[in-house]
């Protein structure tokens, strides 16, 4: 039906209602070509700001003063300093994702069990705090948990802790955990929809206790969502830069800080080495994502 009218698919400035066949192309094909033309501006911007920088990084990670090769990667893996950055990044990402997930799981499940007024309120608040990250968050944590922070002083007074160093690895894990929680809740809350209340009742009728229910029904149903969330949280923490940069003025040794230091620092400028580190960071994320896909396939296989 739409075929004859498709002819008039042309620039809005054209006043004639029905187009003369200007080109020898069939009108339908011309419509397609025009449509494809509309994709060009998007493609241009996407290439300039997303693809080209990534390609530059990928190519130049193989380029060093000694010529083309794996020299940059050899330098990274041969240096205790850079290996420490990788180790710190992985440790902080892993633990903050784990703690963030644990809190998000408990929270999302309970959110499903309370009245809708409280639920909507806390969900909306959680979504808002997901934007409270980066520099402002680091600042807020300095006020609360810095050496003279109100919460630090309070906890010391109660006798729960003797001291707390926000600027250490453990301090960063606490801080990262905070910004993982809203994201975890956002991703996990819908997953609990899949867990129907009558399954729990049926399981209880058949003699299963709470533990049995979670072991045999709850966890297997949730596994794909849990894995997916964990992967996103890991990636989120691995790439985080603003928080740790503001907190330690770029002194704490994690990968994003090292990468940024190598391209914008005052001491050691080496964009090619930065590219190699950046490729390792992207590679780590790729490995995590692939592992996730494999685990997901396995868990689906088991449930079949």
């Amino acid at each position: 039906m739409s075929a004859p009218l498709e002819q008039s698919a042309k620039l809005p400035g054209d006043a004639q209602p029905i187009a003369k066949p200007r080109a020898r192309l069939s009108p339908q094909l011309r419509g397609k070509w025009l449509a494809a033309l509309c994709l060009l501006p998007f493609a241009l911007f996407f290439v300039v700001f997303q693809i080209a920088p990534l390609v530059w990084v990928a190519i130049n990670s193989l380029n060093s003063a000694e010529g083309w090769g794996l020299a940059n990667f050899a330098k990274v893996f041969g240096s205790k300093f850079y290996l420490q950055a990788i180790k710190h990044s992985l440790q902080i990402a892993f633990w903050s994702s784990l703690f963030g997930m644990a809190i998000a799981i408990l929270g999302s499940y309970s959110l499903h069990q309370v009245d809708s007024k409280l639920r909507d309120f806390v969900m909306a608040f959680s979504n808002m705090t997901s934007n409270f990250a980066g520099v402002p968050l680091a600042f807020a944590f300095i006020i609360l948990l810095g050496f003279n922070g109100a919460l630090t002083l309070l906890l010391i007074k109660i006798g729960l802790i003797e001291s707390f160093n926000l600027y250490s690895k453990n301090g960063l894990i606490v801080l990262y955990t905070y910004f993982q929680i809203p994201l975890g809740v956002l991703l996990l809350y819908p997953a609990f929809d899949a867990l129907r209340e009558d399954w729990r009742e049926s399981a209880a009728l058949l003699g299963a206790n709470t533990w049995d229910f979670w072991r045999h029904i709850g966890l297997p149903v949730l596994t794909p969502a849990l894995l997916g969330t964990f992967v996103i949280l890991l990636a989120n923490a691995l790439g985080a830069y603003a928080t740790v940069y503001y907190l330690t003025t770029g002194n704490f040794n994690v990968m994003p800080i090292r990468i940024a230091g190598l391209v914008s620092g005052d001491i050691s400028l080496d964009p090619n080495l930065a590219s190699a580190l950046a490729m390792i960071l992207v590679g780590l994320m790729a490995v995590i994502t692939v592992a996730h896909q494999l685990l997901l396939k396995r868990s689906q296989h088991v449930s079949r």
Binding site: S8, F125, V135, P136, A150
Partner: protein
Amino acid sequence: MSLADRAPAALYHRVVVWLLFLILLTPLAGTLLYSLSTSWSASILPDGLTLKWYLELWSDQRFLDAFGQSLLVCFGALALSVLLILPLLFVVHYHFPKLDGLMNILILLPFAVPPVVSSVGLLQLYGSGPLAMTGTPWILIGCYFTIALPFMYRAITNNLQAINLPDLMDAAHLLGASTWKAAFLVVLPNLRKGLMVSLFLSFSFLFGEFVFANMLVGTRYETLQVYLNNMKNSSGHFNSALVISYFFFVLVFTWAANRLNKDKS
């Protein structure tokens, strides 16, 4: 389950939800209190309350400049995103539905490649030469488009699927509308809500972007986040007022998005 069983469980869930709320609230509440206090050091509670930090902040020219520049960059990026993404979505879903699969892979890139990695390439490619853009707001607008892309693409795709694009277009054609007319007068108004929600939410996270702003532009075109970073050595109360003012804006925008979302259902 009997009622007696249920009561403690209900209490447990309420306590967990309130604890979650409390954890999320604490840093914000702490900053708010700090921004309102005359002085607060080495004690658990502040000495007195005042609004002078807000007055000082909102009469600081450098802050007002940074604020305006942040708004300009964000609005510019959102306008560019709409201009690029709407035609893309329409063409992909109406003419080349098969491209949607490819797009779903492409929009993962901004997620998978952290800004710090992109910055390495961006600094080298556009630091000099024909496309020299670093140090100008233009490069930020381009980069922010890539950040907003996955989000806007997904949100509007959901909306497009809900309105059943091919049927709507056929109906418009039948009634004599050209493809352009149908796209602008029939499809676009139907996408308004999804578009607005994704714009509000994109604004709230673009407004807080720091990595690109600091690495690619820095003080040459100071945005709010870079300003906050550069004010590190000034009074903590002043900075708290800055953080709270910033977050207030984010709050307004996310709240607006939430309201719109609710109206929809």
